[in-house]
């Protein structure tokens, strides 16, 4: 692991600037959302677990409470809201039982919630690697805004 890497665990977030690389490991149905101001080179990454908080306060755990919070924290360290774009990773369905309805698919509900919330914040999604049935590790390079997705079933993907 390189010294510039900052690990973000489940239900956590971090905002940072170059040369830092924001890393989150083993995303399954969770989402890793990278937000980036490419002009001012400010990045933020959140690893949220569930779509809606129903008023609960643990901000980074849920999409609806975490994403607006992440935007505010980026602005606090110098990002401009209108510059921010998004990349979404994760939201897989790790086990397939065939018969399920989509209400049980937490990964899909997480991706949909992220997209909906980003839309209300007028943040454009410029890259995504979501769904399917495998785990993902993501590395978000705040220098370039690129995100590298590593999974055991597939070659590394840069988005």
């Amino acid at each position: 692991m390189n010294n510039d890497e900052i690990r973000i665990k489940m239900a956590e977030y971090t905002v940072s600037k170059p040369p830092h690389v924001l890393v989150t490991l083993g995303l399954g149905s969770c989402i890793g959302l990278a937000l980036y101001d490419k002009y001012l080179k400010v990045g933020g990454l959140i690893h949220f677990m569930l779509p809606y908080s129903n008023g609960k306060k643990n901000t980074a755990k849920y999409a609806d409470s975490g994403i607006p919070f992440l935007i505010e924290e980026m602005v606090k360290i110098g990002a401009r809201k209108r510059n921010i774009v998004a990349k979404i990773v994760g939201g897989a369905k790790m086990f397939n039982f065939g018969e399920e309805n989509s209400a049980m698919n937490i990964g899909k509900r997480n991706s949909e919630a992220a997209k909906e919330i980003l839309k209300t914040k007028s943040i454009k999604i410029v890259g995504e690697d979501i769904g399917e049935d495998f785990g993902r590790t993501m590395r978000f390079y705040t220098e370039s805004g690129k995100v590298k997705v590593t999974s055991y079933k597939r070659e590394d993907l840069i988005i």
Binding site: K9, M10, A11, E12, L25, G26, L27, G28, S29, C30, M49, L50, K56, K61, A92, K93, M94, F95, N96, F97, M104, I106, G107, D133, F134, G135, R136, T137, S151, Y152, K153
Partner: protein, 207 residues
């Protein structure tokens, strides 16, 4: 009990540990018979774990493991998950199929073997819990994933938690004496099932 916090006193925890002990003891016997070698179990632990901590309970998030998952339906619904590390997968395939293979190269047949082992273990676990509690419980067909432990554990536990806050695990570790076989067995009853199981053991569900 149907709120964000699961509360259990020591007596109830001990009762659930006993459930885990009897279930896993019988599963270990079945496992020993299939493999024709002695499989032991650790003393089960009953833990209430915040969801944000579940992805590292078997080791690092990025360790490659096999997960065999069952949905439990009936009077006390929940989930059962087996986790086998890569070294154990290799060894199991070698012992049962007389074949050396890296877990990355598993095909349908090897995956079927792991599913079937999961099936046998989970079946004997549930049967012994059923006999003990007189509750009727059935398992689904197995779901299978070979992937990063963090992805398997977090996805399983998040969807098993009805509170979105924490999850109650009755966890047992399996091993042989030679460090060739290791595995984790998790029984994750739904919050509502806890009081049903406890009541069937003569412990009132409400505090």
């Amino acid at each position: 009990m149907n709120n964000s916090h699961i509360n259990l006193n020591e007596i109830k925890k001990d009762a659930l540990k006993e459930v885990g002990n009897i279930g896993a003891g019988n599963a270990a016997t079945a496992f020993s018979e299939v493999l024709d070698r002695k499989i032991e179990i650790d003393v089960p632990s009953v833990e209430i774990i915040p969801l944000e901590d579940v992805s590292t309970i078997t080791g690092s998030e990025e360790d490659h493991v096999a997960g065999v998952l069952f949905k439990v339906s009936g009077e006390a619904p929940g989930k059962i998950l087996f986790v086998f590390p890569s070294s154990t997968i290799k060894y199991l395939i070698e012992v049962v199929m007389d074949k050396k293979i890296e877990p990355e190269d598993m095909g349908e047949i090897e995956i079927s073997l792991l599913k079937e082992l999961g099936n046998i273990l989970s079946g004997s676990y549930l049967k012994s819990i059923g006999d003990m509690t007189n509750l009727n419980m059935n398992q689904s067909v197995p779901g299978f994933s070979y992937d990063m432990a963090g992805a398997i554990l977090s996805s399983t536990m998040i969807s098993a938690s009805s509170t979105g806050e924490n999850v109650l695990l009755i966890e047992t570790e399996f091993m042989d004496g030679e460090e060739k076989i290791e595995g984790y067995f998790f029984f994750i009853p739904q919050v509502e099932s806890l009081s049903i199981i406890l009541k069937s053991l003569g412990l009132s569900g409400d505090e």
